[in-house]
């Protein structure tokens, strides 16, 4: 993996970093990612991220679960081995609603988790890049990929300092 040089801006406050994201993007710098100890409302919007499309994945996995459950209950209870329970029909659909519901939820949630892991490149062998360990404590980290920016290292450092970064470090990954 080619060595990439990153500029890491460290901020002390969530309002500051939220504000800085707007300023830095406004001056034409592409931000790689912002790492915070907790979720900040409006940060995804400030970073210009698209709305997550996880809902579509959830729907597709969910509907798969519904179909599987219908097929499973219909095949086992209606065709393969019909059982007479209290004189009800061989395929009493209300009886199967809990199973249909459960399998829908199960497949939707598992599917969403796997989709998330695959899309984010997370997994047992993945090595996460930690730009600054303090982002898990009390600092707010803004990482900028220098290879993807036209501005020089010095210019971006100035922009970060101006927008309120308490320190700017260089990290090679």
């Amino acid at each position: 993996m080619a060595d990439n040089k990153y500029l890491v801006g460290v901020f002390d406050d969530e309002d500051e970093v939220l504000h800085a994201v707007g300023e830095v993007r406004h001056s034409g710098v592409k931000i790689h990612e912002v790492y915070t100890p907790f979720a900040i409302h409006g940060l995804d919007r400030a970073l210009g991220y698209d709305r997550p499309r996880m809902g579509i994945a959830a729907f597709l996995f969910g509907i798969t679960g519904t179909c599987c459950a219908l097929l499973l209950t219909f095949w086992t209870m209606g065709i393969d081995w019909p059982i007479n329970v209290g004189g009800k029909n061989f395929f009493p659909w209300p009886t199967n609603v809990p199973i249909i519901f459960e399998l829908t939820v199960l497949l939707a949630s598992f599917g969403m988790s796997f989709t998330f892991f695959v899309m984010e490149g997370m997994g047992p062998t993945a090595k996460p890049v930690i730009f600054d360990v303090r982002s898990t404590d009390d600092k707010f980290i803004m990482a900028i990929d220098l290879s993807k920016n036209k501005l020089s290292e010095l210019e971006i450092t100035d922009i970060l300092k101006e927008s309120g970064a308490s320190e700017v470090n260089v990290k090679e990954v």
Partner: protein, 449 residues
């Protein structure tokens, strides 16, 4: 989309309840009464305008003989067939219960938000706070209808003479075993306690809310929280018992362990939908500028979630009986599916469409929970749907084969709705639209999701 950290609107807003809208609402309420009279007159003459209405005042005794409820009737001479009066009483009862629920959910909403230390809901708190001012009106109607012997007999089968006395020809063993719970003194005390305590706790919260606005400080916040805790404890029990008393004991022979939740879920989601509607109407009129689309989104999620929760308990109630082979409990559904010439089949099934299918499709997407038009559509569907829910809970037991949907139903509902809006608007106009010195107001004004 405007980023709402800038330009927070003023918290100084006062709702003006003009004398014009006052008189309009009162005229609408009076019109409702006139409609009931016209509807009753026409039906008495044998002219039916509504649907599922029986033809003429006389009823088809053979049809009544088939249904399960009639099978439980006792041979006593006291029993007359249901008449038009039953239908009017049933309407009064179902609308009272429906609007009592919507009103008390205002208090419920405030209480759980206090206990959860929720900040987002503060800017809509005053709207929810206005709802319970109506509690005593349907409450009083319920108590009066219960205290008058003739109407009590129409509503509650278990109040009939001698039904719990061994040796009487009206004796019913199933009902007699329930006499420790279903008896006149205890029942009266319970009804008084529901209406009285719910209303009293609301007056406390309201008083503290007004005082907080004058004096500020945290003292009234803690006081309101304590009242909220007491209310939630009380409501945890009384939401179920009131469901058994007001709705389930109409069909005395039948019981369901899901009923308390089902009834509460119905009340809750209808109350939240009414809250959303009130907010949207106020916003349309230029009020509540500080309520942004994030607030609507959160309340919309609440409504979406609880409409699914309602469906879950509604269906579970059916499913438990179906699953566990409880034939003696199928009487409730039998009466609604095929009883009384099948006239309650539609109200029962329309329930599912209006309260689940339609709202889930409309309110599922994120954007639709931020769009007033779609919210109005979804919430309107829920409000109408839960009216039908209470209709099918009460009508088969009270109006029996006299039930229908016609001018009488429109009239009663119009009267109740107008009075409800009158009370809510009147309470709203008496204070600022935001609790100005509430400690969490600032958080709510910056609410952004």
């Amino acid at each position: 989309m405007a980023h709402n950290t800038h330009g927070i609107p003023s918290t100084e807003e006062r709702f003006e309840f003009t004398s014009e809208s006052r008189s309009k609402l009162l005229i609408a309420a009076a019109l409702g009464v006139v409609l009931v009279a016209i509807g009753a007159f026409l039906l008495n003459k044998g002219w039916s305008i509504g649907v599922w209405e029986s033809h003429g005042a006389g009823h088809d005794a053979a049809a009544a003989g088939h249904d399960a409820h009639a099978a439980a009737a006792h041979g006593g001479g006291e029993h007359h067939g249901p008449t038009l009066i039953n239908r009017i009483i049933a309407n009064l009862w179902m609308n009272s219960v429906y609007f009592l629920g919507i009103s008390v959910v205002g208090m419920f909403f405030i209480s759980y938000n206090y206990v959860a230390k929720a900040g987002w809901s503060v800017s809509i708190k005053r709207v929810a706070e206005a709802f319970p001012s109506f509690i005593w009106v349907p409450g009083a109607i319920i108590i009066i209808l219960f205290l008058i012997p003739s109407t009590r007999h129409m509503i509650y089968h278990w109040t009939h003479e001698g039904i719990m006395d061994k040796g009487s020809e009206n004796y019913d063993k199933i009902i007699a075993t329930k006499s420790w719970y279903l008896n006149m003194p205890f029942f009266t005390i319970r009804l008084l306690a529901y209406v009285g305590v719910w209303y009293y706790l609301w007056t406390l919260v309201r008083k503290y809310s007004i005082a907080e606005e004058q004096e500020g400080g945290l003292e009234y916040y803690y006081k309101s929280r304590n009242v909220a805790k007491i209310f939630l404890l009380f409501f945890a029990v009384t939401s179920s018992t009131s469901a058994w008393d007001l709705s389930m004991s109409i069909d005395t022979h039948w019981f369901s362990t899901m009923f308390g939740w089902y009834h509460l879920a119905s009340w809750h989601v209808a109350g939240l939908a009414a809250l959303m509607y009130a907010i949207l109407i106020l916003k349309d009129k230029g009020y509540l500028k500080a309520v942004n689309d994030s607030h609507l989104h959160d309340l919309g999620k609440f409504i979406f979630g609880f409409s699914i929760f309602w469906t879950y308990v509604w269906f579970s109630q059916y499913l438990l009986i179906f699953y566990a082979n409880l034939p003696e409990e199928t009487i409730y559904f039998r009466e609604r599916f095929t009883g009384h010439d099948g006239r309650y089949w539609w109200p029962f099934h329309i329930n599912f469409v209006l309260n689940f299918f339609f709202p889930i499709l409309i309110l599922m997407a994120r954007d639709s929970k931020r769009r007033p038009t779609l919210l109005k559509l979804g919430c309107g569907s829920i409000l109408v749907g839960h009216w039908f829910d209470f209709y099918q809970m009460h009508m088969p037991g009270i109006a029996k084969d006299q039930g229908g949907i016609g001018i009488i139903e429109w009239g009663t509902t119009l009267t109740f709705a107008s009075l409800f809006i009158y009370f809510v608007a009147n309470t709203l106009s008496k204070a600022n639209l935001y609790p100005k010195k509430h400690p969490f107001l600032e958080e709510s004004l910056h609410h952004d999701i």
